[in-house]
């Protein structure tokens, strides 16, 4: 059970970075300004690099010979364990950056906690990834502030992005059986414990950005346990997995 839960947990970490990295990479060459093309590619690269580590370890722990690529390219929607937040479409640039910030503000805290994991392999990956995530959250937070407190149009778009994405925040802090098992083994923190830090960080950024956090705390769920993803994920996989599916067994 213990290894099974660890495998599930690692898929959650790796699928989050895989799916978000893919989404961010969709911006390649078409962002609002050259510096953003570079920054978005950089973020996507970091996330794909983290995916290789998380899913690589997941495959090792599972012990069935599946590589990170096998897990990324040959599972169907129901086996993905990413948060619903990260599979949401890019929308406009504001929506992309708002999604990034909400994820980063959670991610950096999760990784920080994982640097103290009882599993050394997990602690090592987290120690590498947390440096990248700290930079990501600083950048996405600054951009949310810049656009929220920019023109009337940029403010309106950022408020709309926050309203749209807020219902996907709650899932990050749900504690289920996998999380309980991780917590009792000292492998990962209780997701609930990350909420206070997240709230104060997000409140600060939204205040500076002159944006209002929605009062309704309704939370969509079903991504991290794979129960019910959104329709968007399947379309992403048809693209991401196409070559591996169309030419099975080929080496690239």
């Amino acid at each position: 059970m213990h290894d099974n839960a660890t495998f599930e947990f690692l898929c959650r970490m790796g699928d989050n970075t895989l799916v978000l990295g893919h989404r961010v990479s969709e911006w390649c060459g078409v962002s609002p300004v050259l510096e953003e093309d570079i920054a978005l590619a950089n973020t996507a690269l970091d996330l794909i690099g983290q995916t290789q580590m998380w899913l690589g370890l997941a495959g090792d722990i599972e012990g069935k010979g599946r590589s990170a690529d096998d897990l990324a390219m040959l599972r169907d929607v129901w086996d993905f364990r990413n948060l619903l937040l990260v599979e949401q479409p890019n929308g406009d640039f504001g929506q992309t950056l708002m999604r990034q910030f909400l994820f980063d503000a959670w991610h950096v805290r999760m990784l920080q906690a994982l640097t103290g994991s009882s599993d050394k392999r997990i602690a090592e990956i987290a120690a590498k990834a947390v440096k990248e995530a700290s930079y990501h959250v600083e950048r996405s937070g600054d951009t949310v502030i810049g656009l929220g407190d920019g023109t009337a149009e940029s403010h309106g778009r950022m408020q709309a992005a926050l309203d749209l994405l807020w219902p996907y925040v709650g899932e990050m802090f749900i504690c289920d059986d996998v999380d309980e098992a991780m917590k009792s083994a000292g492998i990962a923190p209780d997701p609930n414990d990350l909420r206070a830090g997240f709230d104060s960080h997000v409140t600060q950024v939204m205040t500076d950005a002159t944006l209002l956090i929605p009062e309704d705390d309704f939370a969509h769920k079903g991504g991290k346990n794979g129960h019910r993803h959104s329709e968007h994920l399947g379309h992403m996989l048809t693209q991401m997995q196409w070559l591996q599916r169309a030419y099975p067994g080929a080496s690239w």
Binding site: L18, H22, S25, E26, C28, G29, V30, S31, P32, V33, L34, E35, E36, D37, I38, A41, N42, A44, L45, I48, G49, T51, Q52, L55, A68, D69, A72, M73, D92, F93, G94, T143, I145, G146, L147, D149, G150, T151, E153, S154, H155, R157, Q239, M240, W242, L243, Q244, Y247, G249, A250, S251, W252
Partner: protein
Amino acid sequence: MYAQMVKSTGQGVKSLDDMEPQERAFQERIDAGDKIEPKDWMPDGYRKTLIRQIGQHGHSEIVGQLPEGNWITRAPTLERKAILLAKVQDEAGHGLYLYCAAETLGVSRDELTEDLLSGKMKYSSIFNYPTLTWADMGAVGWLVDGAAIMNQVPLQRTSYGPYARAMVRICKEESFHQRQGYDIMMKMARGTPAQKRMAQDALNRFWYPSLMMFGPSDKDSVHSAQSMAWKIKMNTNDELRQKFVDQTVPQAEYLGLTVPDETLQWNEGKGGYDFAEPDWSEFFDVIKGNGPCNRERLAARNKAWDDGKWVRDGLLAHAEKRASKKVAAE
């Protein structure tokens, strides 16, 4: 070559004796191998030609993100996806260095961007061809970046300092790009029959457009003669094309692929290959806007620019607000 058919003064090269003292001193510095720096005096023609050339090169890097970006979301493995992302990110960085180099000549990045988007300035013809299979990511790296390197390595010695220094950085990254392209081709050429077929098909489609990258023969061109006298062009188009063919044919043989040119033959006398010229009428069609992807490429850049306006405006407005708050506090 990322800058094709750049027009210089069109006047023909003056002899030193025909030059005014200032221009003569300038030409003598170039002849002596000195670097010209932004604040130095330079003839108007030199400045204008460089802006065209560096601008066109920068635009090629920017538009060049699109045919490769076309495959980032379909890259077959995580590693290939990361490598391709890094490569496209490098290209955006090259665009940035080049625009910065052009800015030292007195043109802004926004002006250059507007000229690209309106179609007034060109970018390399090669990026108007589609990338249809994963093997095209290999062919683009191997052939397109390979052709670009042929041109850019000598440009590290170009007379204009900021351009030469940008080229030094760019060349380091381009040679990594070419290697990764060849690595993809190796995998494909030694892979399944379907992969091998993709690799051959990619070579078939990209061979002649790659040869076109060097531009038509310029042995009689007054523009090229002037650019060479100014050392902003270091070799003729034919010299570079020959070098490229000589380098690339053995690489194709090593892959077990066939260059799509029945006339291709080693010529012992000249120590190089004889090869067929590309169809130059196709080249001029592409330059005129009738390549397979011209419309899509420019439309994609225009859409990105228009869709991004609110972002640029928003960030600028915020920066101004912050600056005025800071002033008020002081």
